[in-house]
Symmetry: C2
Subunit: 341 residues, 2 copies
């Protein structure tokens, strides 16, 4: 599996991107990485590591997309950016997947324009992993589509289920729709119509799930439109950060260095690790012709490593072919026996 | 101020509702409460307390709305429920406001049908208080309207601002719109159109705010449609509960009763208090002809007490008259000088 990595993307690039690529290759000998970006900067980072030359090569890109570049201007004026060159490598079949921790709006727009959609898929969607008491669940769409139709949410359900089943090895993933009450009739116009489609899809559809229950792990896949999903994701992220700050304040006020304080800091840091979704590597934009992983801007080398491995898995397991088939033909042909509701 | 309290509503009714009403009256001699519900059950609770008979009276209701009653069936078949009788007291001007911790869908539907909307208001909305690092902020709409038009979000901004200004005494409340990015152009069709209206309203409008920043206290009022708002609220609530559970698990695993454990439990409980929005009493359904406070199903007596006081304040400060005027005439007539963006 040949994975193109946007070496210039993210707050800690190129140090974290290069280190992450090196680590992914050393962990899996089947992987090779093309580091795309400023060749001088990449070479200088590569010097710090031991790696197999057969697994890592560099592809120069003269431009870098900034975090405040709009998708439109990047597409027009930065045709030699690391994001664009990486995407072009997928298009020309010189790579099997890509990873970028850069400007996510630009990555999405470029991938959609250059790679195009999978046959049968109406709208690609971001599938993000979130923590729950039982482990984790997939939230789809986490921000690619702000205005959706029922057929889109229906396909998000199919795509999220395939991702959960084949990448996270969940046997018969429970699919729920994010809504404001658990009764079938609760929701807005969009979710009520989407509910009917999902109910009859042949999925293990458990109906509506509420925001307060998703972290308990009721569903393995939580479906919503990208506006709601992005807000849900950021509320959770913001709340985790605020929680940590409030607890720290509580500790400082109440202990002033007494016994227990170090201990609490340790517990907090373990907790933050569990809720830090960048630990999962990144979120695939499912529904494109090739695997494209959008990593957090704050990605560490570990996150990049995991994202490269994820891109490789999406390719080697043929998830996109499965998604395309299911979106065109439905689930009727599947061998798996689904649990009746 | 005469406040009707649905004595039968909530998980801890009638004990918590009666105790809360007694406490509110003892705290504010201007308040009087009409406890609505089963008179035998209420009388038996009242025996446990000392109270001034001039401040508390009982109004019998032969029916109780259950949590699984639909608004439609409750409206049709439970015309002698505590929720309905309490609302009727407002309609006949025998009470100035009401509080219910019962089935919130039924409370909303009953209040809307019986009391009707304030002149000038298109859609009543729930204004909920949420915690932030700077104190708290108002989220409006937290669940009354699942499908909204731009004019609704615009009015939510006006109503939330008045609530923040006159009840929480924020001098020039910062109003933000919940969206998926801070740039003006970020959002879905609804928020983009609503943005234009809010920008030109004469409010201290700070533009879009992201889910991850609202808990930092960037905005005093956060505007969104009721579907998004309810999900945001429940995600935060669910995340707070999950955080507490995960941290507790972390403590048990790592300490097994060592020093620090009691201490951490204390810090956690303080934190939970800060994030428990039921501590704020309840959320008004703003835009009705009279103050109607929807309290959490798990309301304690303290929450009911605070809700009764809040209903009294909404009445005595004339917030509804202000809202009606502003929704009809805009803010042009206001004396306050607004900060230019």
């Amino acid at each position: 599996m040949r994975i193109a990595v946007d070496a210039m993307g993210g707050d800690h690039a190129p140090a974290a991107t290069v280190e992450g690529a090196v680590e992914a290759c050393s962990q899996n000998s089947q992987l090779s990485v093309i580091l795309v970006g400023n060749e001088t900067a990449i070479a200088s980072e590569l010097k710090k590591h031991k790696y197999s030359a057969s697994q890592l090569r560099v592809k120069h890109a003269s431009q870098t997309v900034e975090m405040d570049d709009s998708p439109m201007s990047a597409l027009r004026r930065k045709k030699d950016s690391s994001i664009r060159i990486a995407t072009d490598l997928l298009k020309s079949d010189d790579a099997d997947g890509m990873v970028s921790a850069g400007n996510s709006g630009v990555v999405m727009a470029t991938a959609l324009l250059v790679l195009g959609k999978l046959s049968g898929v109406e709208r690609p969607a971001i599938a993000t992993v979130m923590p729950s008491l039982k482990g984790h669940f997939i939230l789809i769409d986490a921000g690619a589509n702000v205005d959706c139709k029922p057929v889109h949410l229906f396909q998000f359900g199919l795509m999220g289920e395939a991702y959960s089943r084949y990448i996270f090895n969940i046997e018969n993933p429970k699919v729920g729709m994010l809504s404001i009450g658990e009764e079938d009739a609760k929701g807005n116009e969009l979710t009520k119509e989407s509910f009917k489609l999902l109910k009859n899809a042949g999925l293990n559809f458990i109906g509506n799930v509420e925001g307060r229950h998703i972290f308990e792990g009721d569903a393995d896949v939580v479906v919503c439109d990208g506006f709601v999903g992005n807000i849900a994701l950021k509320i959770a992220e913001g709340f985790a950060e605020t929680t940590a700050k409030m607890l720290k304040r509580e500790i400082v006020e109440k202990t002033a260095g007494e016994i227990g304080s170090d201990f609490l800091k340790k517990a907090l840091s373990n907790f933050q690790k569990k809720t830090d979704y960048s630990e999962y590597g990144g979120a695939p934009l499912l529904g494109l012709n090739k695997p494209c992983i959008i990593s957090h801007g704050r990605s560490t080398s570990k996150a990049i490593k995991n994202a490269v491995i994820l891109a490789g898995m999406l390719h080697s397991k043929g998830i996109l072919q499965i998604i395309s088939k299911e979106c065109k033909e439905g689930l009727a042909g599947r061998e798996t026996v689904f649990i009746e509701e």
